[in-house]
Amino acid sequence: MPQTGSTLAPDAPDHWPALMARAQAGDGEAYNRVLRQMVPAIRAMARRRLRDEALVEDIVQDVLLTVHRVRHTYDPARPIMPWLSALTAARSVDATRRRGRHMAREVYEEEHMLAWADAGATERMEGFAARHEVERMLGALPARQREVVELVRLREMSLADTAAATRLSVPAIKALLHRALARLRQNGGEGHD
């Protein structure tokens, strides 16, 4: 049974290499502890690069998934902070680029639209706008969250099938979906103010 965050020492990086070594051997409890203890450190490192709190939390989640994916590459004989810091930096850069690309794609040229107005285009434009809106909102999500939303909500796959397709556990899929939907609601709300 995993321990809760409140019973753990929040800043014990000296113990992380040993906990990671146990996690690499398959000890889920040690893994649970070390991941929980890493969260504040990851958050602090991400905050140094980004001011957007929602994005920082997305990066924290992305880094946790990345740590899980490459946990075998950590060598417990070496200090853990350079490893974790490099993963956080990589994920922060990815998030910044993704956000930059997303903002760069949003172009609105009113003069051209008025000059080339098509009376019968309303229906087509509404359909296009709806699709574009979905793409825009999904595009703002981190890759993992977007993948999960696409599989579960758009392709209507079951949680179990999604877990199998993404090689994650069902609770991890639920957590990703929860976070993605919360972010979509937040973005949607911002967009309609």
Binding site: L35, V60, L65, W83, P171
Partner: protein, 210 residues
């Protein structure tokens, strides 16, 4: 941060043991042991004439061969190490010395010729040989780096491409005159650069940390 807790519980709930990768140096040697024969086999598609090592200038060719093998091993070690988060590039200076030494040995061999420039348009055989020999090595390198994935895939793949280029050039020295003209040498370098580019281009999608 309840949702992080839920994710952590999910990730740690059904944890399986994992195997750590071998040290970068060992992985680099294993790659060399597999990649060089694979590259040599790929060049069966081309007509080959084995090198006459008794010709004048062979000493530069032997030195070039030794340095290209050292550079291949060093570059692949750098590729393996740099693919892991938080690791630097080990012995980067030695790698640079080996690479520049290879170029120096080849230039010295070229300068020992009576007509060092050679015929324009020559060297296409060598170019094709390097790219052909590099093809299976690229596949093996991508597979090796995919084991750990890469935080900065372009950098790791560029080092891997360098290793493949030097590996292919070391194979070329077994079926090439001991000295080459300048035009020929430029085609060797062009072949190496093509291999580096192909490695980065083909491998980026496969080794990137998704």
């Amino acid at each position: 941060m309840t949702d992080h807790d839920a994710l952590i519980d999910g990730l740690s709930g059904h944890l399986r043991p994992v195997t750590r990768p071998l040290p970068a140096g060992v992985r680099a040697w294993l790659w060399l042991v597999l990649a060089l024969p694979a590259g040599w086999l790929a060049t069966w598609l081309l007509p080959r004439h084995l090198t006459d090592w008794s010709r004048p200038g062979a000493v530069w060719a032997v030195l070039g061969l030794a340095l290209s093998l050292a550079a291949a091993a060093g570059a692949m070690r750098a590729a393996m190490a740099s693919s892991i988060a938080g690791r630097g590039v080990p012995q980067g200076a030695l790698l640079a010395v080996a690479g520049l030494g290879w170029l120096g040995a080849n230039v010295m061999g070229t300068l020992s010729l009576a007509q060092p420039w050679g015929e324009p348009g020559s060297g296409w055989y060598c170019y094709t040989f390097v790219v052909l020999a590099g093809a299976p090595m690229i596949a093996l390198a991508i597979a090796a780096i995919r084991r750990t994935r890469a935080v900065r895939p372009e950098r790791s793949l560029a080092y891997a491409g360098l290793a493949i280029a030097f590996g292919a050039l070391s194979l070329l020295s077994f079926c090439h005159p001991v000295t080459e003209h300048a035009v020929d040498l430029m085609m060797h370098v062009a072949g190496g650069l093509t291999v580096v580019g192909l490695t980065v281009l083909l491998g980026r999608r496969w080794v990137a940390l998704a």
